[in-house]
Symmetry: C2
Subunit: 203 residues, 2 copies
DNA sequence: TAGATTGTTAATCGATTAACAATC
DNA sequence: TAGATTGTTAATCGATTAACAATC
């Protein structure tokens, strides 16, 4: 599967552009974005060309319409809602994170097998019993899910999600998930990050 | 800076090897590790050659001594302890995560400006006042820190950490950190992960 | 105009893959 | 031995960088 790096960078550009829009900046140059993303200006220009947005040699890129263009590129005009499975420490942290507007997507609801954790609202996210997940996914046409259950339950949850029609999984459990090729899994591998930092810090 | 991909994969191999060791598996083949990491067997062999460990055409790689070899490669014979800054939802989740043995490193202590959150122990991690951080870093020779404070405080915390001698930062705050070239920063960019999953799920 | 930025192409760099002799 | 795996090299692939004419 191609484009990974480009997609990652476009996500960064999007957040930077949101900040610039909040600061009422109207135009931005490729080298400006590049400096904030640790890439070269040429890469920024190529990435933006890739989403079909053209700049202007005098004024660079217009912040608000470029932002709209990237949003359309990511979401195809409709907001993308996701669900979360596993209302533990990490699940709560993620609900809090996304409720603070750190992302353009919304966690629509959260699920857990433990009845004592559901039927309430945390950070504007409805927490529902696990056995209501199938119905919720179908009726809300959810395509993306976040897994933050313990390691031993992750594969079972993934199997359920795939059966219920989920096409993309962000997995925080420290285990590889077996899924069909048609399902995209991104592993947010926290201990790998830390290993990497420790290695390069002592390099 | 080179080797990023290799380092990431070595971290994966390490966790897989730990599981194999727990299952009392004595030898493993490159294609076995490869299958669990979504890479080719040739890449596994090259990675392992890179850490100086040679396999055996008949028996593949010996799990426990390979694991030791990778540990030495990462940590140079001494355990690497890290600190965490920001005892919010995410900070607690990370303390819980690392206390469960999902990683070979240990969070030695956590710091927060809020006095109501410190002077206690959470998941075996000592929570201390922020103004004791400098002394703690020095006396424990800490080189690596995890930042999970809110976005607006992240740069200030990073500045302090760098001044106190930290050489590697794992940053969970959704903002780029400005640090000297001598300091390695890894951004655990959660909204970027989710953007990526949403994009490739609908590809 | 002059100058800085744009889109675009060619060159470079690095990482992955394919192929194979050497090994146990 | 026969067979599967090893280390290693060459070929391929993709992503980044350098360079430059076109643009406002």
């Amino acid at each position: 599967m191609k484009h990974h790096k480009t997609i990652e960078r476009l996500s960064l550009y999007r957040r930077l552009l949101q900040n610039l829009e909040n600061d009422q900046v109207e135009n931005v140059y490729s080298h400006h974005l590049a400096g904030m993303c640790n890439v070269t200006a040429a890469i920024v220009r190529k990435d933006l060309m890739g989403v079909g947005y053209l700049g202007n040699p005098r004024h660079g890129y217009q912040v608000n319409s470029l932002l709209k263009c990237i949003n359309v590129y990511f979401e195809g005009n409709e907001a993308n809602n996701v669900i979360l499975v596993g209302i533990g420490n990490l699940g709560r942290a993620l609900m809090s994170y996304f409720s603070k507007g750190n992302s353009s997507t919304t966690i629509l609801s959260a699920f857990d097998l433990d009845d004592s954790k559901v039927n309430r609202v945390i950070c504007n996210v409805k927490c529902l019993p696990y056995d209501e997940m199938k119905t919720f996914i179908n009726s809300n046409k959810i395509k993306t899910a976040i897994i933050c259950v313990p390691k031993v339950q992750a594969q079972k949850v993934a199997d359920n999600l795939v059966n219920y029609g989920i096409k993309g999984i962000l997995n925080f459990a420290p285990t590889r998930l077996l899924v069909p090729d048609s399902v995209f899994v991104e592993n947010a591998d926290i201990s790998m990050f830390l290993d990497k930092v420790i290695y390069f810090a002592s390099k």
